[in-house]
Amino acid sequence: MRIAILEDDVALAGLVEMTLAEAGHSCEVFGDGQVLTRALHRTTYDLLILDWNVPGMTGLAIIEWTRGNLEVPPPALMLTSRSAEEDIVAGLSAGADDYVIKPVAPAVLKARVNALVRRAYPSTSPMVEQFGPYKFDTRADTVELEGQPVALTAKEFALALLLFRNMHRALSRAYIFEALWGRNPDLPTRTLDAHISNIRTKLNLRPGNGFKLVPIYAYGYRLEALAA
């Protein structure tokens, strides 16, 4: 995958480039937003990794620019030192597909990038999908943990599969709602929290088992697989 990195801090840019190169991606680093937009005119990138505050043009402005100027805007990952939840929400609402807070943990970065790439350029799903100890049979709507079947309701199964398929990716409440219940469901917001709570318990999505369900402030949820 061709990845454009917008980061004016040389050390950080180096770390990101090194991490992604290890994962087999080819990266190009930009220190100035304007330069990046000029490059986007000429060439295509499969993914953008954008710092929030950079000279020339902010990361958010770049996202906005791609939505308005590119036929197929590439997915964008915000890389930011802003750790306050409000800032994260602002970035996600502005159109970023995911975010990573600095300092960057290489494993986290790799996982998030892969999740975005997987979603943006999906391969056909097999009938049976395996995620670590979890085996999802999409024909029979059953799930097995370590070979033991786990009883889930239809909605719980759909939610679990959605989270696993989008591992390491922030899913907004609206996205999940639409995927599970269709457009404009007249449901209390607690419904989703209750379902999340149920599958966490039933599938034991706990760090002890290698997984973690992370609520994202005012946005939604993300399923993370912990590095062993």
Partner: protein, 750 residues
């Protein structure tokens, strides 16, 4: 007005309508209004056209005739000669109004009879039967037989003045007898005309005296006898002969205003009959109709559902009555006396006005008394005089009410003026109704001058812009509800503009109250705070992240592992400190968006977040209690608060120990339900000194008691702030070297 008073007014309206109607009926029937009606009739007649006089000629036995032919009564030879003379002039008919009731010299009577017979059509008078003083009906007095038989017809010629002495109508006798003039008129008109039309109509018996009061043209009998009258004057006319000399014929006042001889009145009558302009008095139904209809129209027009000014309705009704009466008389020859109708109007109008006034006065009195009793924030205005005495009392009450109102106005204006915040009162189109002193000061600094009464709300509001969008404040506001906007004049001056709809007592929208609150100071403080947070989140974190990135990417042979580890440690600690600050600032200043969250979910989120730390120290975290407990909260803050407590427990516990988290529901004595989260560790505990200041900023764990840790000292401050802002309670039991138990209690949403 209250329902009771409405009802009262309606009842009185009906009563007045009824009474006035009865009055009109009585007046119509008993002719009390005759005098007024007659005066009206007489004046109207004079407005009409003058009577045409071409068909009738009077031959008067006047003073001149007496002087020339000798004293009255004349020898019948003279009469015979006069008749012959007249006949020679070829008149249409002759009415010879001289009585020949006593037999005289038979030869002379025969002569007269001969003349009469030759002069046909000629009609002679008789004296109709009349009730004598004795009450016995006398026989009619007829002319002597030879003359009677010679004449074309015999008729009576009596004149009956009205009660006021004025002659208005022709006499209609009982029985078959005809009026002399009716006979003459009948003979004078062509035979083609049906006779019944000309016989004295019983209905239409009012004589159409022409306007002007002019006297009928006549000639002297002596002149006729002397042959001094040209025959053309007599030809084709009805000739009336009668005595008008002084002392012979009576004279009567007439509606024309002048006094006429009987002969002249008869001339008018015969003229009316021939020209068919006799006037018919209206019957009872028509007169009642004219009397009652205007009254009812007036009462409806003035009634409780009134639409027009009372005076106009009254003038209209009276005018229509007069107009109808005049039109009927002059055009349709029908006499409709308007007196009763006018009397009805004249009585009902003031009566109804008076009753209305009385009811209103009573209503006002009741209302004013009630107002007087109402509690007031102002000192009571002393009443001038007693309230007990009728109108004077009402005036005293009104006085007090007006004074109170004035006081209240002053009071309101003063209070508004003294309000510390700039306040404008605008009506719906934006006219400034009131502006207080603070508003004048504020807008003077903006370079605007408030002119009360000018439509300038929009202009004044354009002095500031909405924070963020930079748009002007919309006026009039689109929403009907009170709204608050944050606006700025420039980079240093910020205001909260509150707009509240202003309504009248009946709920009708009247305008807007606009208030400016200066928030420049708090805005400045907020910006300072934002700057600090910005500094910490970005400017301070960024270099730390870069340091960590350098350490990550640097080749191992370029930097010694021990130093690298130390640098990483300090960088991470700085990051944690910055994060702690940011989170504390969030907890303190964030506007919480509360949602329903489950306590257990948040506890698990917090524990999962800390999994790396707990695993590193092989500390087991166990949870008890699986009851659902929903609280209203800010999920990220509450989760972080729980995480901070558990994180502390991990930090200050030896490896391999257990942390127990228990969720329980507690119902307090006052019935409120609380969710309790107890976090108990087996760590080093706290001493009294630390316990007392553990929620302070930069309070660090025990130096002597436990392991050396790397906290920022902001964790529990954060927890405390979050709990307080969620109306929760945090408590702590601790024993050095035995462990600490924190209990976080939050009110449960039912």
């Amino acid at each position: 007005m209250s329902l009771g008073h409405q009802l009262k007014l309606r009842t009185q309206w009906w009563l007045i309508l009824l009474a006035a109607s009865v009055l009109v009926i009585v007046l119509t029937a008993d002719r009390t209004m005759l005098r007024l009606d007659n005066a009206f009739y007489d004046r109207l007649l004079q407005l009409g056209a003058p009577a045409p006089g071409q068909s009738v000629l009077m031959v008067e036995i006047d003073d001149e005739s007496i002087a020339r032919l000798g004293r009255w009564p004349w020898n019948r030879c003279i009469h015979a000669a006069l008749i012959d003379r007249i006949k020679a002039g070829q008149p249409r008919a002759i009415a010879y109004d001289v009585l020949f009731t006593e037999p005289g010299d038979p030869a002379v009577d025969a002569l007269l009879a001969g003349s009469v017979a030759a002069a046909r059509p000629i009609f002679l008078p008789m004296v109709p039967p009349a009730s004598g003083l004795s009450g016995v009906a006398a026989a009619p007095l007829l002319p002597i037989a030879p003359v009677r038989q010679a004449a074309s017809g015999i008729g009576y010629a009596t004149i009956d003045p009205d009660a006021d002495g004025v002659v208005r109508s022709a006499t209609v006798a009982a029985g078959p007898a005809q009026h002399l003039m009716a006979l003459a008129a009948m003979a004078a008109t062509s035979p083609a005309t049906p006779a019944d039309h000309l016989a004295m109509p019983v209905g239409a018996r009012l004589i159409p005296f022409g306007a002007g009061g002019g006297h009928w043209p006549g000639v002297s009998a002596a002149a006729v006898l002397a042959g001094q009258v040209p025959p053309e004057l007599l030809r084709d006319r009805v000739v009336l002969v009668g005595a008008t000399a002084t002392g012979l014929g009576s004279r009567y006042p007439t509606p024309t205003g002048s006094v006429m001889s009987g002969l002249e009145i008869e001339a008018n009558l015969v003229n009316g009959l021939i020209s068919r302009t006799m006037i018919r008095p209206a019957g009872m139904p028509a007169r009642l109709g004219l009397g009652l209809m205007p009254l009812w129209v007036l009462m409806i027009g003035l009634g409780p559902w009134r639409r027009m000014p009372a005076m106009v309705v009254f003038a209209l009704c009276a005018g229509v009555v007069v107009a109808i009466a005049a039109l009927c008389l002059l055009v349709w020859r029908l006499w409709l006396p308007p007196g009763a109708a006018l009397a009805g109007l004249a009585v009902a109008y003031p009566l109804w006005g008076w009753r209305q006034l009385a009811v209103i006065e009573q209503f006002m009195r009741v209302q004013l008394l009630r107002l007087e009793q109402e509690p007031s924030i102002l000192p009571r205005v002393a009443l001038v005089g007693s309230v007990k005495h009728g109108v004077a009392g009402t005036i005293a009450l009104l006085h007090a009410a007006i004074a109170r109102n004035r006081e209240m106005q002053h009071f309101v204006a003063d209070r508004l003026d003294q309000l510390p915040d700039a306040t404008l009162v605008a009506d719906l189109p934006g006219r400034i109704v009131m502006a207080n002193a603070a508003a004048h000061r504020l807008f003077t600094t903006f370079g605007h001058t408030i002119i009360p009464g000018a439509t300038q709300a929009q202009a004044l509001l354009s002095a500031v812009r909405l924070v963020g969008s930079g748009n002007p404040v919309p006026f009039p506001p689109e929403a009907e509800e009170p709204a608050t906007h944050e606006v700025q004049r420039d980079q240093a001056h910020f205001y909260l503009v509150g707009m509240a709809p202003q309504t009248q007592a009946d709920g009708q929208r009247a305008g807007w109250i606009i208030r400016f609150v200066d928030i420049s100071e708090s805005k400045a403080a907020q910006r300072q705070r934002d700057d600090v947070v910005q500094l910490l989140t970005h400017d301070m974190r960024s270099p730390q992240a870069s340091i960590l990135a350098v350490l990550e990417t640097a080749p191992a042979d370029r930097i010694a592992p021990v130093e690298a580890s130390a640098i990483r440690h300090y960088a991470e600690r700085t990051l944690r400190l910055a994060d702690g600050f940011v989170q504390l600032a969030r907890a303190e200043y964030l506007e919480y968006t509360l949602e329903e969250v489950e306590l257990g979910d948040m506890l698990i989120d917090a524990i999962d977040d800390l999994w790396p730390q707990s695993r590193a120290k092989a500390i087991e975290i166990v949870t008890h209690g699986d009851e659902q407990m929903l609280v209203m909260g800010e999920r990220s803050l509450l989760t972080r608060a729980l995480g901070n407590v558990i994180g502390n427990a991990i930090k200050y516990s030896p490896d391999g120990t257990t942390i127990t988290c228990t969720l329980t529901r507690q119902v307090r004595a006052d019935g409120s339900a609380w969710g309790l989260c107890t976090i108990a560790d087996q760590g080093c505990g706290m001493d009294e000194d630390l316990r007392a200041r553990m929620f302070e900023r930069f309070a660090r764990g025990p130096v002597g008691l436990g392991p050396k840790t790397s906290g920022a000292g902001l964790g529990l401050s954060f927890v405390h702030t979050v709990m307080v802002r969620h109306h929760g309670v945090i408590s702590c039991e601790t024993e050095p070297r035995r462990g600490t138990t924190f209990t976080l209690a939050l009110p449960i949403k039912d």
